[in-house]
């Protein structure tokens, strides 16, 4: 299994907002344990989907030069369960973006109905950990994540 919890971007406005969707499938193995006979997407993975949507938005805003790390979930509230066959829509918006950090506001909807609110603070770790040195390469934004964005760009060009 790959640690990618969004399937594609459907909107991407650089430095402003992004929308991604996630199709929940019974082929995801963890759903068989969470819970046996009653598969429900874990709320922690809904947070991860938002962290990826918002994190790529924040990373792209600085041309992927910063290592963007989730530093704090400011708020996460959930209104209902997510079941196999559901399609989640993640809307993320940049609230603050500075040299050292970013804050995002996130809303998750299911069939147009509110499902979750997830606000996050990200740290640009090279600018923010007083003297700690991290590897040169950007280990946060692997090709797996960047390809989500390039396939969005390809699909909008073809549209």
């Amino acid at each position: 299994m790959r640690w990618v919890w969004i399937d594609k971007f459907t909107d991407f406005q650089s430095g402003i907002r992004a929308t991604a969707i996630k199709n929940v499938s019974l082929a995801e193995e963890h759903l068989h344990d969470h819970f046996p006979g009653w598969p429900v997407m874990p709320a922690s993975l809904i947070v991860e989907g938002m962290a990826q949507t918002a994190g790529i938005l924040v990373g792209e805003a600085r041309k992927f030069e910063e290592k963007v790390i989730l530093a704090k979930v400011k708020r996460a509230s959930f209104l209902k369960e997510v079941r196999p066959g559901d399609q989640l829509r993640y809307d993320a918006e940049i609230e603050h973006l500075t040299e050292e950090a970013a804050a995002t506001i996130g809303r998750v909807t299911l069939d147009g109905e509110p499902l979750a609110e997830i606000d996050i603070v990200f740290s640009h770790i090279d600018n923010n950990m007083s003297g700690l040195v991290f590897p040169e390469e950007n280990f946060v934004f692997t090709d797996e994540f960047k390809s989500l964005l390039s396939s969005y760009n390809v699909s909008t060009k073809n549209a």
Binding site: K72, K74, E95, E100, V121, N128
Partner: protein, 129 residues
């Protein structure tokens, strides 16, 4: 119309309750952010963002919470703030109360300068400027 100090305090309290998940009766003027309210380093950024939004002000990096002084060898010697460091810090933080820190300038205690009152003083001065 200018906001009174009490109004600033009430709004700062709301910011800290939301950012740190504390009860509003824990947020007194004398409470230290790290020691009493359990703030961690990333919370300081979150607090700065929230203050900017709440009061519609811009807070340049290091103005409210100077973070570069402790890393300067000229200002810190054997874990204690040097006289030069103290002067620099006092100039950088006119909004803080240095009474206790000057008696015992152990840098481990520097975070005690970051109290609720420090924020209220800073915001009040900023709004009046």
């Amino acid at each position: 119309m200018a906001m009174s100090r009490d109004e600033v305090f009430e709004k700062v309290k709301d910011v800290l309750v939301d950012a740190l998940g504390v009860d509003d009766d824990e947020v007194s003027e004398g409470a230290t952010l790290t020691g009493d309210l359990g703030a961690e380093s990333i919370d300081f950024l979150d607090i700065v963002f929230r203050l900017e939004r709440t009061f519609s002000i811009k807070i340049p990096r290091g103005e409210l919470f100077p973070d570069d002084i402790m890393n300067n060898p000229e200002y810190v010697e054997n874990g204690r703030m040097t006289e030069k460091g103290m002067t620099t810090l006092k100039n950088a933080m006119p909004h803080a109360d240095f009474t206790d820190f000057e008696k015992d300038p152990d840098v481990a205690k520097m975070t005690d300068l970051f109290t609720v009152k420090t924020i209220v003083n800073y915001v009040t001065a900023k709004l009046a400027a």
